[in-house]
């Protein structure tokens, strides 16, 4: 896989005139409260949705607003997203198998915090 660059989730030989990447963060906030207004339970479930239309060899792909970049990895486009400073994850894994990842905190390379972290909890760097 590393040698040929082929991956099971992507066809080879894709060509697009315009290389495009769309990213959406969709969060649902669920709250249960009493008739008097006391919060009993609250949680957020979030999804990071993407749409990628990238050629095998993008000549020059730039995503300045995401501080993300793509480069050639064995003939395949590769994306790298930076994380917000205030982000920490526990028990991260690949779906559906759950592979444990040690938790961490602290800064990320080139990370500026998002302007509306309060509501969006946008962990992706949005400069």
């Amino acid at each position: 896989m590393q040698v040929t660059g082929a991956v099971s989730w992507r066809r080879e030989g894709l060509r697009y005139k315009k290389n495009e990447v769309y990213l959406d963060i969709v969060e649902s906030v669920n709250v249960l409260m009493t008739a008097k207004g006391a919060v009993l339970r609250s949680d957020v479930s979030g999804k990071v949705l993407m749409k990628c239309f990238l050629s095998v060899r993008p000549a020059c792909l730039r995503l300045p607003s995401l501080v993300a970049h793509a480069w050639l990895a064995q003939g395949m486009p590769e994306l790298k997203l930076g994380l917000n400073d205030h982000f920490s994850a526990e028990g991260a894994g690949e779906a559906p198998a759950s592979t444990s990842i040690p938790s961490f905190g602290g800064g990320s390379p080139g990370g500026a915090s998002s302007g509306y972290a309060d509501t969006a909890r946008s962990w992706l760097t949005a400069s």
Partner: protein
């Protein structure tokens, strides 16, 4: 800039994400599939900053009527942003006969199946305020106490709570 760390629970990535690079470099690196896909899923359960302030007032008028007022203010985000698909479920007694509902925004209905008033607001702009006022009429013949379920049946905490 916030100094607090936001902890994500139950994080799962699409199979294309390089997990070893996520733990070593704190970056989400991947060769993307073509087209649309879900890159990542997560939950936050600790210290959730609520985007709305909900102010409910529930008043029992005698044994056959309940007046409900729910005021919601989008205090947690600025007016340039909009929350979408806001749904408020307000439980009412199982022996509700009918409900007259007034809303300043969105649409609300009494749903007999779920014994609740369901208020749907498709778009809720930041800093805006919306209100629901409902007059719930109960079936008179009922001998049940209006708002409180029988204690013999086990139920989840807050199942009968408003909001």
């Amino acid at each position: 800039m916030r100094s607090k760390t936001i902890e994500l629970d139950d994080v799962t990535f699409h199979q294309c994400v390089d997990l070893s690079r996520f733990s070593s470099e704190k970056t989400v690196s991947f060769v993307p599939p073509d087209g649309e896909f879900e890159l990542m899923k997560y939950r936050v359960t600790d210290d959730v900053t609520l985007p709305f302030k909900v102010m409910p007032v529930v008043r029992e008028v005698g044994r056959s009527r309940i007046e409900i007022t729910v005021k919601i203010r989008a205090f947690g985000f600025n007016s340039a942003l909009t929350a979408t698909s806001v749904i408020v479920r307000i439980p009412v007694p199982g022996h509700t006969a009918r409900a007259t509902i007034d809303v300043t925004g969105g649409k609300a209905k009494y749903k007999a199946e779920g014994s609740s008033l369901v208020w749907k607001i498709a778009r809720f702009p930041g800093q805006a305020e919306m209100q629901l006022s409902a007059d719930v009429e109960l079936v008179r013949a009922s001998h049940r106490r209006t708002l409180h379920p029988p204690l013999t049946r086990p139920r989840c905490a807050g199942e009968h709570a408003g909001g």
